[in-house]
């Protein structure tokens, strides 16, 4: 920490410059604009907290926050569950483990928009045909109700991101010293006990990383939402990011959309920081 001489700052300048130009400056500008009547072209006057008061009564916005929270809770749980399960599967001594890793990771390489359209086809057409063929009513009419829209989004996100989370878990699982496992075997621990008392505590840092990643991505999700359900039916599957875009660019209320974005930023920041703080405390040092 003591080496902060001129060279230190010079080396840092490009990063600071980039960060400043694309993150800090827009953030400050945006916050200022949220207190004005900015319409995207001109801002005429400061209106104080009017937008913030308005958004507290904005049913659409509150619904989208509630929907996003429900969605995040479910996906964070499922993603970590499947991520860890897949990681445990492919770190076993299987012949096909490398192939499986590739396969599980693959969905992550496809862009969110495309994925949304692919899954839309699966849910709307394939599910429907399969449902008719097998006589299962539950498979028909997907994405036309709020519940199916919700689970459609969850399935899509979990399918896409589980492979990525798996990679993180693999890295930590492979770092567990074999002597610990061996000695526990000698002590007569069964595989569940080994998982509970050795593997699980030692991959705790991975939880921090993955929880942070999954929480913030599922909170900020936009493209999958847009292409899979488009917020429909009747905006009931609209997540916060989409609500903001629609306010700003759909209804042309730029400053109001910006105010929502500021609130959204605060929510995401608070949740992520608290979560990292608590998970950090629980990690075990080797």
């Amino acid at each position: 920490m003591k080496n902060r001489d001129l060279a230190f700052w010079l080396f840092l300048t490009p990063v600071l410059l980039g960060l400043g130009l694309v993150v800090i400056v827009p953030l400050i500008y945006g916050t200022i604009y949220s207190f004005t009547d900015w319409n995207g072209l001109t801002a005429n006057k400061f209106i104080g907290f009017d937008h913030y008061i308005k958004l507290l009564q904005d049913e659409g916005f509150l619904n989208s926050i509630w929907f996003t929270i429900k969605f995040s809770v479910v996906t964070v749980f499922l993603l970590n569950f499947f991520g860890l399960a897949l990681a445990l599967l492919v770190t076993r001594k299987l012949k096909s483990s490398n192939l499986l890793r590739t396969v599980f990771f693959m969905p992550n390489l496809i862009g969110g928009l495309i994925l949304g359209f692919i899954w839309q086809f699966i849910f709307v057409s394939v599910f429907d045909d399969a449902g008719k063929l097998l006589g299962i009513e539950g498979l028909q009419g997907w994405l036309s109700t709020t519940t199916t829209g919700f689970w459609g989004l969850v399935i899509l996100t979990v399918w896409q991101m589980a492979g990525y989370i798996m990679i993180i878990y693999i890295a930590y699982l492979q770092n567990i010293p074999t002597e610990l496992i061996e000695s526990s075997k000698i002590d007569g621990a069964n595989s569940f006990q080994r998982f509970k008392s050795i593997t699980f505590p030692l991959v705790a840092p991975a939880f921090t990383v993955s929880m942070f990643l999954t929480l913030s991505t599922s909170f900020k999700m936009y493209d999958q939402n847009l292409s899979l359900t488009g917020g429909g039916p009747f905006e009931s599957t609209q997540m916060v990011a989409m609500n903001i875009v629609k306010t700003a660019f759909g209804a042309n209320e730029m400053a109001y959309g910006q105010a929502k974005a500021v609130i959204f930023f605060i929510i995401v920041a608070v949740i992520s920081l608290t979560q990292v703080y608590y998970n950090k405390k629980r990690e075990v040092d080797m």
């Binding site: 700052w9 600071l16 109700t145 905006e235």
Partner: protein
Amino acid sequence: MKRKKLFSKTGLVLVASAFLFASGCSSSDVNGSNDSNGSNNSADEEVVVDVFQSKVEFKDEFDELVEKYEEENPNVTINFKAVGGGTDYAQALKSVFSSNDEPDIFSVGGPAEVEQYRTYLADLSDTDSAKAALKGTLDGVTDGEEVLGLPYNQEGYGLLYNKALFEQAGINPDEIITHEDLEKAVTKLDSQKEDLNIDAVFALAAKETWVIGMHLANTYLAPEFNNNAITAYNADTVTFEKGDEMKRFLDLQAKYSVQPVLSLDYSQQVEELFSLQRVAMIKQGNWVYNAIHEMDPEFAENNVGIMPMPVEGYEQSIPVGVPSYWGVNKQSDEKVVQAAKDFLDYLNTSEVGKETILNDFNFIPAYEGYDTSKIVDPISKGIYDYASEGKTIGWTFSGYPTGWSVNNLAVHMQEYLAGEKTWDEVVEDSIEDWEEARQE
């Protein structure tokens, strides 16, 4: 400690100065180009006209036209940029304006956008195009004496039907005039579903908010605004005078549509269901022609007909409107404004321009003096026939509060279709949303 602080300040200064430098560069660029436009006044000076418009579909054809124009007018250079299709044009236009990279010719959608860009829009009433524009096509952009935009083209929509299926079922589309007639025809088709080998009579794409909120609703809202977008733009409220008619028309489509309507989208409606002849009717307009043509050229050319939707007092009328207008930036250099006007006249009224508009863009022209027998696609032809006979209903949704049709009305209609709201609630809530938007 002091050292640290000093250097952190140096860092800040570095950041700040780099920022200033960057912004300084861009603004001097703008000044530079303006100067070069205004400095020399010789007759054959170079004029550069930047066009920024919203139809990517005909970019290549437009480029060809520009080339021809530049050959005839060697001192004019036209830079053409199209944003649209997947990207939001309104959003892109806003960003080029706020970044001081203002185009000389751009598109505006109607009264609301005209108002937004009012300080930029030049009066075009002295152009040949404005004089040749068909009656009613300038309504959305006229402000007193001033004409602030020139129509691209006309578009219209109605009930597209499968001619062969109608014939097979023994229905004469010309006899369908009132809602009762339509209902009879629909039930007749529905009873013969097996024989006709169709899934359902209609495909209602209720997932697409513009299909129900903009187009379907407009058919029944336009009359209360005298078919004029400006009237709608100035209206403090909306009354849903024909709300009941709107309801029964929506109900009829929803009841006899392929289910579930709420997840049925545009491409399913047009490409999968209508083009493959799995439904007999859809409510759509001339823009679907290319999509149908790609699926089945034979069907598109010979078997698609268009008929009006039943509206009391407006029987046999088709909603026809102008989707967007050319606007000229009056804050550009005077010479550039003149060159822009000349170019638009060339596009709309010269022989070469007319050819391009009819044959390459496949537009329904919004100007006089076109050889309309050259319109190849039967949907456009049908719409043009209704329009030239004056049997039209206006397009008023460009005068609604911004986003109201798709973000409010359409959403309430979806809730109605899902059984979450009664029709009365739809009407009440939509009126409330309208009034709220107007108060701001």
